[in-house]
Symmetry: C2
Subunit: 321 residues, 2 copies
């Protein structure tokens, strides 16, 4: 972490990934005066020339010019790195983080389980945070983001004792202030792993079923058989969380299902990936939670069945480059 | 049962359903000299004018003229009624059987569980038999059947004491003789219900997965994740059978999987139905076995999950007329 970061100095952000998630949060932060640098790959040239367009329900933001680079080594010293790429691209993640100037705090905004723990094992405690995003947002073209609904983030240190090892113990609160100023509901929470499991209670049923049943969240919730599947899967994930020491109240299942039934019809990111024949985030969203629950003595047979179906569909339809 | 039926007099057959299954067996019996009458609906006029065409791996049979009627009431007195319609059309089945002249013995060649028991409850013990068909055959046009592989039937009385109530206790053996003369491997077995469960061990995984994964048997068996799903489902059905008092040896699972891997790539009847947007046989193949196992204290969670998915897919894609 750069020495220049104090409570009074503003944070400099870098964002890996300029898609539906990284694009949305990055544009909102930059638009509200934060110092934000994007690392883009396929869209780099387009963003450099034309900037970003963000369409929300009530406003259109055209961010131009944009601080954008095509490789992390071209960044200035960074305080906070927001990780907004897909987990399917995590192969060179540690290298990218190591090459980012300034030894930044890293906020994992990715889906699934276990990424923060892997990064802590590599970079030590005190630098890694996680964020669970509840966001309905789509990338509709190069540099073009369409925000549909929500945006809330729960942010926390990777593990319960990370903060005490940090050179910047208050960075979570500083990030919260910046996001809140940008109009994003970001809440700092004490137990990130519990938040991850809560997020999985949504991702595991809806991401997988939206692919296996070729259906939107609304189509799933409007069919009794599919809604029963959601319930079965969600309760199984909740039992897995419990076995791993994260006790989640049963009402949370009902709450998630009602929320989803009431939200705008939405194609999960996994469904969009599958339709575009991109690899799906099966490892982070299915394999790791299954392994964690199994290790805690709690096999999740319905989740496993869905995972096997998705593996088949990925092998049959997705061209991995 | 007509008084004219004795061990020496030939049986007169009627066949409900002129599709892949009824067409194949009926044509083979008629071609080999049996007295066979077809009850056809949509294809009636076509079959009456042009007869049947059956293409097998090594021969082409053109059966013309064909004894065909459009309603059971037009049949002559019948000794044996072969029931080869889909279970999805069973709404008026009891009425059709009641209207068939001659009070025939009824052989249920349909898929799934519980049909024989329902018919025994209506028509009494001693008239109802069941047959499990292991047949790869497709209807490729009006009156046109393409036989791909297999054809074996296991035939038995509906329940263990049906035979003793029958006016024609030897009818199963007479049927066996006729089929064997027609080149079809038909074996009389003592326990039909066990045979039904054995057949379900194939139908439940392969029919459902071929729809849910949009895949042929070969595509399923050539993918490790999908083959594991087959194994899980098959073993669950086997445990359900066991709970219902039908103990099936574990080797049978392996045997079925190896057989399927080695057979010609095949689209299950359920997949063909789904692709043609016809109703699938979910009640007979999923709902009834699930209920039977559940009642015996053995819930089948993976089977239930597949059933729920199929219910969703049916509601989403099938136009029920």
């Amino acid at each position: 972490m750069s020495d220049s970061v104090t409570n009074t100095k503003p944070l400099r952000y870098a964002i890996f990934g300029s898609g539906a998630l990284g694009g949305y949060y990055g544009i909102m932060l930059a638009h509200h005066g934060c110092d934000v640098h994007f690392v883009a790959r396929s869209d780099f040239e387009h963003i450099r020339q034309h900037g970003f367009h963000l369409q929300t329900r009530d406003q259109h933001i055209h961010l131009n010019p944009v601080n954008v680079v095509s490789h992390v080594s071209q960044l200035p010293p960074i305080d906070v790195l927001l990780l907004a790429t897909k987990t399917t691209e995590n192969g060179r993640l540690k290298q990218w983080i190591a090459e980012t100037p300034g030894e930044p705090a890293v906020v994992v905004l990715q889906n699934g389980l276990g990424i923060e723990q892997e990064l802590e094992a590599e970079f030590g405690k005190g630098r890694i945070l996680g964020g669970c995003c509840f966001l309905c947002s789509n990338k509709i073209g190069p540099g073009r983001i369409h925000h549909l609904d929500f945006g809330r983030i729960t942010l926390g240190w990777a593990s319960l004792d990370s903060q005490v090892h940090s050179q910047t113990p208050h960075v979570a609160e500083q990030i919260a202030t910046d996001f809140q100023r940008a109009g994003i509901d970001l809440k700092v929470i004490p137990d990130m792993l519990e938040a991850r499991w809560r997020k999985l209670m949504w991702n595991i049923p809806y991401n997988g079923l939206s692919v296996a049943l070729n259906a939107s969240t609304a189509e799933i919730m409007n069919n009794a058989a599919a809604a029963e599947l959601v319930f079965t899967l969600m309760e199984e994930v909740r039992s897995g969380a419990g076995a791993c020491g994260k006790l989640i109240e049963p009402e949370f299942t009902t709450q998630l299902m009602v929320q989803t039934k009431n939200m705008v019809p939405y194609d999960s990111s996994m469904r969009l990936d599958f339709r575009a024949r991109r690899p799906m985030e099966l490892e982070a969203i299915y394999a790791k939670p299954l392994a964690a629950a199994e290790q805690a003595g709690c096999p999740l047979p319905s989740v496993k069945m869905l995972y096997r179906q998705l593996q088949f569909l990925q092998a049959a339809y997705v061209t991995v480059d």
